[in-house]
C-alpha cells in the first residue's frame, strides 16, 4: 500500500465506487422498468419491417442440390 501513489489510490477508489453504482443502476432499471408485460421486441411505431421476408418463388422449378 505504501508504494501506491495518490493517483493510483484515486483510480482504485473511483473504480470501487463507479462499478457498483453503474451495476446497481442497471439492475434497478431492469427490475423497475415499466410495461414489462409488453413484449420487448414489439415495434413502437408503424414503420415497415426492415428485415425482408424470404419466400420461395412461385411456379419455379429448381434443380435439386
Amino acid at each position: 500500500m505504501g508504494t501506491l501513489n495518490r493517483r493510483e489510490i484515486l483510480g482504485r477508489l473511483t473504480a470501487l465506487v463507479a462499478g457498483p453504482l453503474l451495476l446497481s443502476r442497471k439492475a434497478l432499471g431492469l427490475a423497475l422498468q415499466t410495461g414489462r408485460s409488453a413484449p420487448p421486441e414489439a415495434s413502437p411505431g408503424v414503420q415497415p419491417p426492415r428485415r425482408p421476408t424470404l419466400a420461395p418463388p412461385s411456379h419455379s422449378v429448381p434443380r435439386r442440390g
Binding site: A15, G19, L22, L23, K26, A27, L30, P40, E41, P48, R50, R51, P52, T53, L54, A55, P56, P57, S58, H59, S60, V61, P62, R63, R64, G65
Partner: protein, 1004 residues
Amino acid sequence: MKTRIPDTPEPPVMPPRHWRTLDERVETPEARRAAHDEFLPGAVDIADLPAPSELSRRGFLGILGGAAALAATVACDRTAQGTIVPYTRRPLEVIPGVANYYASATSEGRRVYSLLVKTREGRPIHITGNDEHPGFKGKTSLRVVADILRLYDPERLRGPKADGRPAAWPEVDRRLVAALADAKTAGKPVLLLTGAVASPTRRALLADLKAALPTLEHLAWEPAIGDGALEGARAVFGTDVVAVPRLEHAKVILALASDFLNGEDPEAMAAFASQRRLSQPGQPMNRLWVLEGALSLTGSNADERIPLRPTQLAAVAFALAKDLHTRHGLALPAGVDLSAVPGGVPPGVDLPGETWSRLLADLASAGSGAVVLCGSSLSGEAHQATHLLNAMLGSRAQELRPADALATLPELTAAVQGMAAGRYAAAILWEVNPAYAFPAAQAWKEALAKVPCRAWIGLAEDETAAQCSLLLPEHHWLEAWNDYEDGSLAVLQQPTIGALYDTRQGEDTLLALLRGLGAAAPGDYHTYLKARWQRTVYPSGSPVPFERYFEVALHDGLVQDGQAPAAPAFKGAGLTDAARQAFAATADGMELFLHPGFATLDGRHAGNGWLQETPDPVTKMTWDNPLLLSVADAQRLHLRDGDEVELALAGTTLRLPVVLQPGQAAGVVSLALGYGRSTGEVATGKGVNAFPLVAAGSPAPFLRSGFRLQATGESRTLSRTQAHHRLDGRDIVRTFSLAEYAQEAKAFTKDAEPVSLYPDQRFPNHKWGMVIDLSACVGCAGCSVSCQSENNIAVVGPEQVAKGREMHWIRLDTYYEGPVDNPTVVHQPMLCQQCDDAPCENVCPVNATNHSPEGLNQMVYNRCVGTRYCANNCPYKVRRFNFLDFMSDKTEPESLVYNPEVTVRPRGVMEKCTFCVQRIEDGKIRAMGEGRPLRDGEITPACVAACPAEAIVFGDLKDPHSQVSRLAASNRGFKVLEELGVKPAITYLADLKNPAFEGGRDAK
C-alpha cells in the same frame, strides 16, 4: 530453375525482364523495397487503427473484470431480444443445409446470359453460367455474377411512391392509367423509354400495349452501345444487326479497338482460348491482331498489337479492303466501288509497310477463317468497313443476327425536343437513366419537367427517378419471369426467390396498364409468358403435354426453338461515301477515346461494391475512372501518376487524376464511362461522369478532339493495385513465342524437386492441386469476382485499397515486357499456392494455419490472433489481413448474400484462398453418399467454375490420370518461386504468343 542461395551477396540491380510499373522497369529503390516488404507502408499505418494501450497488466485485468461484470449485467437486458421461430412450415423445395439450383437468365443490353443460380434456404447466393447452354458451358460474365448484390441492395425502393410519398399500387396504377387514357383520347403521344428489348415476350407485350394505346412511342436506348455500331449496321444491311463472334472457326482475328475479351462475352472468350492451349509445338494456334489507341484487355492478349489513333481506324479498314481486293484478289461485294480509296497504309498512319503486308497476307490466307471485329466506340464508317471486310473474307467466324432497333442519340434528342415542346402527355422510363447518361442531361431534365405525367420503373431511386412523380419499383431479375432469344435457343428466366419487397415486375405494370385501358390481359406476366410459349414455342403436335414441356424448359433453362434467324443481306451502296468520310476524318491534336467502364458499363453497376473494387484488368484502378495517357504524352505535359488535370471540352470541365498507361498510343487519352453518379451511397462521388463529353449527333460520339488538358498542380492518391504485392524472385512469369516454345519443348526436362530438410508430406487419399494456363488466361478477373461471391470476401473501399488492404483471395498480376509505348503483356492469376512446405505454417504461434492431409494449407479463423507472421513469411503475398471490421457489422438485407458454408471473418484475422474447401467437402460427401469414388473434374472451386477461358484446372494430383496431373507434367509447366523450396501445389503453364514475325518486333 536456378536455386537461390541466401548467403551469396546481392547481385547488382538489374532491371527485370517482366515489369509491372514504370518504377519496376528501371528498378528504383522504392520498387526494390516494395519487393522485399510484405505490406505497403500504408497498410500497417496505425493512424486509423486503435492506438496501442499504455495500460499496465494490472490495470488491464481490472478493466477486464469490470467489463465482464458489465457485460454479464447487460446480457440480462431483454431490450434486444429477438424471437426464434422454428422451421415448422418448411417450403417443400427447401432442405436446410442443401443448396437448390435454378436455371434462369438475364440480359445486359443486347446480350443474353443463360444462368444457374445457387440458393441456400431460399436465398440466392451465387451465380454461374448454365451448364446446359451449348455456348456458355457453365460460364458467364463477371458483371452478371456480381449483379446478385443488387438483389440485396439496401437502397432498393421497397414500395411504390406518388409525389414523393409512399403509396399503394392501386393508386399509382389509377393515376398512370388515367394519364394514358387521357392521352389516348386527346391523341397525344406517350413516350416509353426502355433499355434494349431482348425478350420476345416483352416485345409481344409492348406490341399489345401499342395496339391498346396507338399514341405510344417506344424508344429502346443503350448508352454504352455507340451510334457508330448502330448506324454502320443500318447503312450496310438496312437494319439493326448484332455480330456474334464464332471464334472457334477463327485462325486470324483482327480487332479494331474491339475489346471482345473484356469479360462480357464468355462464348467468345472460351472459343478464343480454346485455340491457344497447346500441348505440343506445331499444333495450330490462332493469331490476334489488335489495332487500337488505348490498351484494352484484348490488346493485352494480342500477338501483334499496333497502337494507332482511333480516328484512323476507319481509313485503315477501308485501305485493307482495297489492298485485299487489288493485291490478294478478294472479290468486292456487288455494288461496292473502292476505286476512290488509296491503297497501302493510309497517310499519317504509323504502321510499317512490312507489318501491313503481313497483316494483309494473314487475312487473305486465312480467308473465311479470318474475322474483323470493330469496337462499339468507333465511327459508323469503321463499322461499315468492318462489315465489308468480313463479307470479302466470307468469314465463318462471326454470325450476323437481326436485332431490334435501338435509338441513336439524334433520335433520343428529337424525343427530348418533343418533351420540351410539350408534345408528350406522359413519359414512362423503364430501366433507363437518361438524367445521368444522356449527354445533355440538363436539357433532358428541363424537357422532362414539361411532361405532365412522369412514371419511373426501376430498382433503386436514381437521377431519373428524382424527377418522376410516380415511382413503380420493380422486381430484381432474380425475382422475375421472362424469356430471351439467343440464336436458335429460347432461354427462360424464372424467379429464384419470392419478391423481397412490395415490388412488381415491370411487365406486370404494363399488363395493369393494358387492363386499365380496356384491353384483355391476364392477371400476371407469368400467365402471359406461358400463354405465348404455348402458342409460339411449344412444338405443335408434340406428344408431351405443354405443362410438362414447360417444366422441363424451366428445369433446363432453355429449349431449342427452330433455326437461327437468317443473316441479313449485305448492301454496300453507301460504302463509297463512307470511305471518303473515313479518309477525311482525321483529328488534329490529341484524341479522347470514351469507352464503357469495365466495372460500371454505362453506370448501371456503379453501386456494386464487388465490381467497383475489382481492379480494372489493364489499369488496375478501383473505384475511379482516371484519364489514361501515354508515357510520352505524360513526359511532354510533365505529369505523373495521380496528378490531377482539368479536361475541358464544349462547356464541360472535369477534374480527374491521370494514370500513365504503357501501350497507350501517343496523342490518345482515354476515359471510362459509367462513373460519377450522384445517387446511391456506394456510387456517389466515385470518379467523374464522362457522358457530357459524348458528342450527340456525331458519327463517332465516343471519339472527341479539340479539348483542353491542363494540370491543376494537385495530386491524388490512387486506389490502384498495380504496384501492390510485388513478388521477389526470378522467372515469375514465362512467355514464349511459338518458335521459342519449340526449342524449350525439345530441351524440356522436369525440374527435380528442391532438396528439403523437412520430411515429405504424406497424403493418404487426395492431394489437391491446380494448373493455370497463362496462354489461355485473358486476365478478365472473372475468377476474382466469383471467388468474392463464393467466399464472403469483404469490400473495403477506395481508401483502404490505396493502403494496400484489399481483400481479394485471387488477384490478377499484370506484367509488361518490352518498350513502354507498346509492350507485350502477360496476366497471371495469383492465389495461395497451397505449398507443401509452407513458410506461413511454421511461423504461426497458435497453429491457426496448418496443413491438411489432402495438401491444403488451411486456416482456423477462431485460433488466429492476428500476428501477421504468416503474411510476413508468404513469398507470394496472397494472405489477407482484416485490418478493420469489414463484414460483421452488415445486417439484412446485405448479409443475405453470404454463403453460409464460409465463415465471415472479423477484424484481426488473417484469411486466404482455401481452394474452396467447402466445395471439396461437398463433393466428397456427395460421392460418399452415392457410394462411388470422386470423379475427375467433379470438384470445381469458384474460380475454376467461373473462368470463361477454362484456363484453371483443379483436381487430385495423386490420381495420375486426372487432367490436372497430366497438365502439371506439361512441357510449358513451371512453378512460381520454385527455387524457394516451398513446393507449391499450383503449376503455371507458360504464356504463348503467335507473333507474325518470329524473333519479335525487332525482326521487322
